[in-house]
């Protein structure tokens, strides 16, 4: 009797348990986009098909997909579904003041007096010019402990305009000094900063222009020597820590060094390479650092394709094509060299694709996210294939940062980051109807007026307010 009673209690409890446990499973949210043209990027285009999303992850894609009755169905008739676009080198989602010093400080301390102080910087030490550094031991301009993932702000007004242009993810990097800190792969939507972060460590951003400090190093050769020393120091630090851990009694305790701590387990470094000479230097530097490199800021990519393919170095293309500065001196003669770079820079994407170099795209310096697509359209007009342009904005970026298992194409198992547009993305008349980020739908919303990009407020001002 008592046994039965216990069994009954257990059964009852179990029943309670069972009814309680699967409760979340029952609230599975399904979303389906039906009857749309689907461009999965990793496979052939599906002229009329369905994308099924389950809890923010793509569950199925194809011409025929069984859609559960509880699914929220979106009629995709006449619409095209793309994977969400990725800005491979960005500052979206980060406090904008953080990038101001890097943009404005030139050699030495040429801080313009009108530097806008919009926000209190989160890293005060990153803002103040440090005391004069005398050598590598002072760790000049080094911010390896800074992580973009810690600074992400869902309130960044640029996120909405990025989504309006079809961007759902960005690889966002802090910008200061010469070792700027760790980038993060973020989704451009989410209620909290934590929700936005896809991968907290995307790579370490290195620059070759000293800014925000005075003293050593102030030349490219000094900076490159400093990078080498930093990596050697990190290696030594690692060994010293290991020895100390093995024998804390006899081995002296190594001094804690946050700059070196930040170098442990760096997956890749981002190095600037505007032209072929710098590219050679950077490829060699990365080999010395024994760290894979991704080159950014590439301007003369049209001359670099063969060598990049041979070294297997991926590239983040700057698609702010060089142009005559608005308001430039009307009597200033432009050199043939300058005009040539200006003419050929937009052919870089086609050259890189033709050579088989992996490349992605950065919105850096462009006033609006939509300008990225327009810049690529220029390249398409100069011989770039549309599918290559799309791949650079999606799967290639995911591959470069090692997140192709989660982002970059419309494939079951990947995050439901999608763009639903009225036509081909690179056509001017095309409008983005909605984007999905982790399965959550975002509709285009009127944008807030943008603060001037960076602090300088210079650049193609005609593009400002394009999407408003």
């Amino acid at each position: 009797m008592r046994k039965n009673f216990l069994a009954a209690i257990t059964a009852a409890l179990m029943a309670v348990f069972i009814t309680w446990l699967p409760a979340p499973a029952e609230s599975v949210s399904w979303t389906a986009i039906r009857g749309a043209r689907i461009v999965p990027v990793n496979g052939p285009v599906i002229e009329k098909g369905t994308v099924l999303i389950r809890n923010g992850v793509i569950a199925a894609v194809g011409p025929q997909v069984d859609v559960p009755a509880s699914a929220w169905v979106i009629d995709g008739n006449g619409l095209t579904v793309y994977p969400g676009l990725i800005d491979a080198l960005s500052t979206w989602g980060l406090p904008q003041a953080a990038q101001a010093p890097a943009q404005t400080a030139g050699r030495g301390a040429q801080q313009p007096p009108q530097l806008p102080q919009q926000q209190q910087p989160q890293q005060p030490q990153a803002q103040q010019p440090q005391a004069r550094s005398r050598g590598p031991q002072d760790r000049p301009g080094t911010f390896t402990w800074v992580k973009a993932a810690d600074q992400v702000q869902p309130s960044d007004s640029r996120l909405a305009s990025a989504r309006n242009a079809g961007f759902t993810s960005a690889v966002t990097f802090p910008r200061q000094g010469i070792v700027a800190g760790h980038g993060a792969i973020i989704n451009l939507g989410g209620k909290t900063a934590g929700e936005m972060v896809v991968l907290p460590e995307a790579g370490l951003y290195l620059a070759l222009r000293p800014s925000g400090y005075t003293g050593f190093p102030s030349t490219p050769m000094g900076i490159m020597a400093y990078f080498r020393q930093l990596w050697l120091d990190a290696d030594h630090y690692r060994q010293a820590l290991a020895l100390y851990a093995a024998d804390p009694v006899n081995i002296p305790r190594p001094a804690h060094d946050r700059a070196l701590e930040g170098l442990m387990g760096v997956k890749r470094v981002l190095l600037p390479a505007p032209d072929p000479i710098q590219m050679e230097r950077m490829v060699k530097l990365a080999a010395d650092l024994k760290t894979p490199a991704v080159l950014y800021g590439v301007v003369r990519g049209y001359e670099m394709a063969e060598r990049l393919r041979a070294t297997g170095t991926p590239v983040i293309l700057n698609v702010r094509w060089p142009a005559r500065e608005p308001g430039a001196d009307p009597e200033q003669e432009e050199s043939y060299r300058e005009l040539r770079i200006r003419d050929l820079a937009p052919t870089s994407p086609a050259a890189l694709s033709a050579a088989g170099v992996k490349w992605a795209v950065s919105s850096d310096g462009l006033e609006t996210p939509r300008a990225v697509l327009r810049a690529l359209k220029q390249s398409i007009d100069r011989g770039l294939r549309r599918e290559d342009a799309l791949r650079a904005l999606t799967l290639s970026a995911a591959e470069i940062y090692g997140v192709a298992d989660r982002l970059g194409s419309i494939q079951p198992g990947k995050a439901a980051n999608l763009v639903v547009a009225t036509g081909d993305l690179f056509d001017d008349s095309t409008r983005v109807r909605m984007v999905f980020i982790d399965g959550v739908r975002y509709l285009p919303e009127p944008e807030l007026p943008q603060p001037p990009a960076g602090a300088s407020g210079r650049g193609p001002s005609s593009e400002r307010g394009e999407d408003q």
Partner: protein, 440 residues
């Protein structure tokens, strides 16, 4: 070089022997008067420092020193139309550099009184035949305008490169008022810097609009200064009681059109503005440091404005300019009918002045004009052609005796006379030469 050592003792002995140190007869030379064709086997008679006679047959007057210059050539002394020689000794030692006074307007400064007659550079500059220099008070380096030089740097003086004191060196204490026309400086120039194209890396540059505004402010300052000087001039002329001001006082000859403004202006835009300014203010000007006059050439020629050219041994201003752009400028000006002379705008390299003219001659400038550009033209531009610039009767005997064409780099200057007085051609260079030749 060795020849100098052979001839030097002769000259010194001659000097010791002669009664009057500034009278002599130079015989059997080829005389190049510059003002006319060369005369073979001719003589130059110098009495009391002035040229008394030039010709094939000249008889010595009284007991006078006779110098046989067989196989040698006689030219007038060369004139450098802009150099801070004597004002600057060692560029890196501030205490030895007297150019470039602080302040935008310093018309009251006179370059000559600051000249150090014992400067080591003076004999070096003389060695290549330069007897006369327009010594400039402002810094003249750079072709994009001297931002640190001030706008009106002071009075440039014409001086001889010999004398115990500056008074002895003086030809004309105030030969020109040195001025720099403000330049729109955007910090640009040179090849495009690709890294500056990268956002986030771009060093802040001055925009054209900002630079133009800065330049307009400077031009306004000049205008204000001239207006104030004119008020001073009028008040003084009217006999009103005014506080004396050396700066405005120094401007009066400029405003009266007696003293030329030597305006440093390299490019078309500055030249155009300077020309307009001169026309508006009714002042006499000389353009200096001209590099790229562009369409203003015809205007310069039409208005008879002389030009002082700097060294052609520079790279072209613009990346795509032809390599010989600095070399052909003189020929271009000559073709348009512009009168010009050469200046070194340098201290120790002032000795290269003859080769500046030579380079222009190699690139289209008629040889005679090249020679004039470092002699007679310069004397005319600085208003001393009555006394200097050619070998003509009545002019001062500023002569060089050479073994060939002075524009030719291998030519040696054998003798030099300033106002008929022989000048020592030894310099730091010859001393070092001797010293190291004597090394065992």
């Amino acid at each position: 070089m060795r020849a100098i050592h052979r001839i030097l003792p002769v000259m010194l002995a001659a000097a010791a022997w002669g009664g009057e140190n500034d009278s002599f007869l130079l015989r059997n030379a080829t005389v190049h008067p510059v003002s006319g064709p060369a005369i073979q086997n001719a003589s130059v008679l110098v009495i009391d420092g002035r040229i008394a006679e030039v010709g094939p047959k000249v008889a010595p007057r009284g007991r006078i020193r006779v110098i046989d210059a067989r196989g040698l050539h006689v030219y007038p002394g060369l004139i450098d139309s802009g150099s801070p020689v004597g004002l600057a000794e060692i560029a890196s030692v501030r205490e030895t550099v007297d150019t470039g006074e602080i302040g935008d307007f310093n018309p009251q400064l006179r370059a000559l009184i600051a000249v150090n007659p014992s400067s080591e550079h003076i004999p070096v500059v003389r060695a290549n035949g330069i007897t006369t220099v327009l010594v400039t008070p402002g810094t003249t380096g750079g072709t994009r305008g001297a931002s640190t030089a001030g706008l009106i740097a002071g009075q440039a003086s014409l001086m001889h490169l010999d004398g115990w004191t500056w008074e002895e060196m003086e030809i004309r204490r105030s030969a020109a008022m040195q001025m720099t026309w403000p330049v729109i400086q955007t910090g640009r120039g040179g090849p495009p810097d690709l890294e500056s194209l990268l956002p986030g890396l771009a060093a802040r540059r001055v925009t054209f609009a900002e630079a133009r505004r800065n330049q307009q402010l400077q031009v306004q300052k000049i205008q204000d200064f001239f207006d104030a000087a004119r008020r001073y001039q009028k008040a003084k002329a009217a006999g009103e009681a005014i506080a004396p001001d050396l700066r405005y006082e120094a401007m009066i000859p400029v405003l009266e059109g007696k003293l030329p403004l030597m305006i440093m202006a390299a490019r078309e835009r500055e030249i155009r503005e300077a020309l307009d300014f001169a026309a508006r203010e009714q002042v006499k000007i000389v353009l200096a440091g001209v590099r790229r006059p562009g369409k203003t050439i015809d205007d310069i020629a039409k208005r008879n404005i002389p030009v002082v050219l700097g060294t052609p041994f520079v790279t072209p201003l613009e990346e795509d300019d032809p390599y010989d752009e600095p070399f052909t400028l003189a020929a271009q000006l000559h073709k348009a009918g512009v009168k010009f002379c050469f200046a070194s705008f340098n201290v120790q390299f002032a000795r290269n002045l003859p080769y500046e003219a030579a380079q222009a001659a190699a690139f289209g400038l008629p040889y005679d004009e090249a020679l004039k550009s470092v002699t007679l033209n310069a004397a005319e531009i600085w208003g001393v052609a009555g006394d200097y610039g050619s070998i003509d009767k009545g002019k001062y005997a500023d002569l060089i005796v050479t073994d060939g064409d002075p524009l030719e780099i291998r030519t040696q200057v054998k003798m030099m006379f300033i106002k008929g007085v022989p000048v020592d051609l030894e310099s730091r260079h010859t001393r070092l030469y001797k010293r190291y030749m004597a090394r065992p």
